[in-house]
């Protein structure tokens, strides 16, 4: 058992960190103040470094890297709270194409993602579906889709949509290009990002894949991978929020002394650290479960749920306390911690919050005597 990065992974981390160096709250506010809610230049630089094609096979224009490398990137993006829709495009939307697509679809779509040429958005959620992603509200008929997807993260900017829908043969995924039969209404989300309502009215759609792969199984695995990547983004966010908090406590004076002289505050910072480290352990483990080829689909799905459950609690704890320990300044948009808390809140609610993970884990509670980290 080894929790450390190897030399290449460490080099990747340093490279990403280097690329993001100096990206601060002011730049973030500038980038998020206008559509598409992130920096196209930054997106290009991520592409240049090969980060947008990281998990795809080299044949498809990618780097052929694994979940650990994705984790490294997501965590670094989280550390600076970068607004680029990395997990959404690369892990979720692209991941679905990689899992289900025909060779031709993979080469085309993944190549376009990897090069930064196209932003691809996963249109899975519906106004009435909560966290069910199978797409009951969009119906396919004769190669055309009708129904509403919302909220679709980055849906306004997207050059291509991966849409879940119901067909006569059950749930399936489709590629839809904005245009005919597609109406997109984009708006700001509370973390500074963008999401859209996508109305499909007989929109021409290409089925993703040739039907040889089980759609729901692939969806579950890709969603598990996306959850784990989000958890890493959250680790980066929590680490930064804690660092900003301890820096503030050691510099801000009240009642004639710096705040770190107030034991009630420092003990709460210690509890934040505990939440963070416990999260880091379980999230890293989940990444290893995902990366391990001997893991069963059930193990991968459960590991992702376990990581997300822990991060749901830790993210609330760390995010709320970071603001509280800052006091008034933590409430302001000019300061970074509030945005981190906002982003943690988005991550918490996009693919199921802690209570939702618990609900699913309840169904497997009596399958095991104890939870063993190593099989």
């Amino acid at each position: 058992m080894d929790f450390s990065l190897d030399d290449e992974q460490t080099a990747l981390r340093d490279a990403v960190r280097g690329l993001l160096k100096g990206f601060d709250n002011e730049q973030r506010r500038a980038a998020t103040s206008e559509d598409p809610g992130f920096s196209q230049e930054q997106w290009g630089r991520l592409a240049e470094m090969g980060l947008l094609g990281l998990p795809y096979s080299e044949d498809d224009g990618g780097m052929g890297a694994g979940p650990v490398e994705l984790a490294v990137v997501a965590e670094e993006l989280g550390r600076v709270n970068a607004p680029e829709p990395y997990v959404e495009t690369v892990v979720l939307a692209g991941g679905l194409v990689a899992a289900l697509g025909t060779p031709a679809q993979k080469a085309e779509v993944l190549g376009a993602i990897s090069s930064g040429e196209q932003v691809v958005a996963a249109a899975l959620l519906e106004p009435g579906s909560r966290w069910d992603l199978a797409g009951e509200g969009v119906v396919e008929k004769d190669g055309r889709l009708t129904g509403v997807k919302e909220p679709v993260v980055a849906g306004g900017r997207a050059d291509l949509l991966v849409v879940s829908a119901t067909t006569d043969g059950g749930p399936a995924l489709f590629l839809v290009t904005p245009g005919e039969g597609v109406e997109t209404s984009s708006y700001a989300t509370f973390d500074g990002g963008r999401a859209a309502r996508v109305t499909l009215d007989g929109a021409p759609a290409t089925r993703l894949g040739d039907g040889s792969v089980d759609t729901l199984a692939a969806l579950e695995r890709v969603v598990a991978a996306a959850k784990i990547a989000y958890c890493h983004e959250a680790l980066g966010l929590m680490e930064s929020a804690l660092r900003l908090t301890t820096e503030y406590l050691t510099t801000r004076k009240q009642f004639g002394m710096t705040l770190n002289r107030f034991q009630a505050l420092t003990f709460r910072a210690a509890d934040m650290y505990t939440s963070l480290e416990l999260s880091r352990s379980i999230v890293t483990w989940a990444t290893m479960v995902l990366a391990d080829h001997s893991s069963t689909p059930q193990q991968v799905s459960d590991a992702a749920r376990r990581a997300k459950l822990q991060v749901s609690k830790a993210g609330r704890h760390v995010g709320q306390e970071a603001i509280q320990l800052h006091g008034g300044i933590g409430m302001t948009a000019e300061y970074a911690v509030g945005h981190m808390t906002s982003r943690l809140t988005v991550i918490d609610h996009l693919l199921g919050d802690g209570r939702e993970q618990t609900k699913h884990l309840l169904t497997t509670l009596t399958d095991h005597e104890v939870v063993e980290p190593v099989g």
């Binding site: 959620l125 106004p127 009435g128 909560r130 966290w131 509403v148 919302e150 909220p151 993260v153 209404s185 708006y187 700001a188 989300t189 509370f190 999401a195 309502r197 004076k253 009240q254 009642f255 004639g256 107030f262 009630a264 505050l265 609330r316 709320q320 603001i323 509280q324 006091g327 008034g328 933590g330 409430m331 302001t332 948009a333 000019e334 509030g338 945005h339 808390t341 906002s342 809140t345 988005v346 609610h349 996009l350 919050d353 209570r355 618990t358 609900k359």
Partner: protein, 385 residues
């Protein structure tokens, strides 16, 4: 012990309920009920209607428009107002500077300011906190120096809520830097349009603008703008902060929000989720305990001495307020993302406001005496620690 309200109290509640639900425009109340903001005009409209009926400033002396109500009547007034989703009288006017002027001000000052303050003809804002004087308010450094018949003010205030609408600011200023820090502070009234006063809005993490920085650069106001005596400011600040026993805990507002939460959760079948429903049960129970604590405080503060339990009201009240906003985001789930959606969106209004609300209400445990300060008060004053 007596559970029920007296007959008089029941009648009074009915009177208040009728007033609030029939006299305050439905549109205003609907806006509040859906968690949106009514804006300056709405607040002014509501307060003027209340003031006309004598219900805007019941806590003031009767001669200045107050009511000779029992604490229980004031509690009922406050609860019914919140239950009817009425925008409450502006706190800076009704609960803060009004009572201070009524208690400390000269007769001239009362006559000049109190009627206009009650009727919200003057919109007041509060100049207390500074960048380096938050929880430690007495460290404030904004300076007022006497120059002939004027005060000359220099310095900076921050967290000035709704200062963007304000006509006047009541400002704690240091008038004697030589003495113990609490002893050298005075309260001065300053028109916001005075030369040298600049206001800079602060954007909050929910994207809203409700607080401001206010800068004073050689701002001149007449000597008569001093409230009470020179260097009596700290006494006034304590008077003002310790003044209000009613409405410290936002009980009725939180109850109303929780009822809405329950309704929308039920509509979406989410109460079948036992874990979510159990959370609602627990919040309802804690809210009941809080409301009863508020009632205990009201019922036993008649002699003017606050009941010791009053100090838990702000602490627990804001915790529950925040817990409800947090649960609301969970009920909205991914729909919470649609905070910036326009009318084209299929996401219902209630879901769109959940996340900004959650973020915005993190302030509740910080502003107006942080929960750390509340614990300090409980430990020190009540438990003798």
């Amino acid at each position: 012990m007596q559970l029920a309200l007296t007959e008089e109290e029941t009648a009074f509640r009915e009177e208040m309920r009728t007033f609030f639900t029939t006299k305050i425009p439905q549109e205003l109340r609907d806006t509040i009920a859906s968690g949106r903001h009514v804006g300056k005009e709405g607040i002014v409209t509501a307060q003027r209607i209340m003031n006309e009926a004598g219900y805007a400033v019941p806590n003031w002396p009767v001669q200045w428009g107050g009511q000779d109500w029992t604490p229980m009547q004031r509690h009922i007034w406050h609860e019914e107002m919140q239950l009817a989703s009425v925008p409450p009288p502006l706190a800076f006017n009704a609960s803060m500077i009004g009572p201070v002027i009524a208690h400390f001000g000269s007769e001239e000052m009362k006559a000049k300011f109190l009627p206009a303050t009650a009727n919200l003809d003057i919109w007041w804002c509060q100049g207390f906190s500074e960048p380096n004087a938050g929880s430690d308010l007495a460290s404030l450094t904004t300076k007022a120096v006497r120059d002939g018949d004027d005060w000359v003010i220099n310095g900076q205030k921050t967290w000035t809520t709704l200062g963007q609408h304000a006509d006047w600011i009541f400002c704690l200023c240091r008038t004697d830097p030589e003495v113990k820090k609490q002893a050298g502070i005075s309260m001065i009234l300053i028109p916001m349009d005075t030369e040298g006063v600049t206001l800079r809005p602060i954007e909050l993490i929910d994207g809203g603008f409700e607080v401001n920085e206010v800068f004073f650069e050689d701002v001149r106001v007449p000597a008569e703008n001093l409230v009470g005596k020179e260097n009596q400011g700290w006494t006034m600040a304590k008077f003002l902060l310790g003044n209000e026993r009613v409405g410290v805990a936002p009980v009725a507002q939180t109850k109303r929000r929780l009822a809405t939460l329950k309704q929308v959760a039920a509509d979406r079948g989410l109460l079948d989720d036992v874990l979510l429903a159990a959370k609602v049960v627990e919040l309802e129970n804690e809210l009941l305990a809080l409301e009863l604590t508020a009632l205990r405080v009201v019922a036993h503060s008649a002699d003017g001495k606050p009941h010791p339990a009053s100090s838990v009201l702000k602490l627990k009240g804001t915790e529950l307020q925040q817990a409800v906003t947090e649960l609301f985001v969970d009920v909205a789930g991914p729909l919470a993302l649609a905070s910036g959606a326009d009318k084209d969106s299929d996401v219902p209004d209630w879901a769109r406001v959940t996340a900004p609300d959650y973020l915005n209400y993190r302030k509740a445990s910080i502003y107006g005496g942080s929960n750390e300060i509340q614990r300090q008060i409980i430990a020190g004053t009540i438990l003798g620690l």
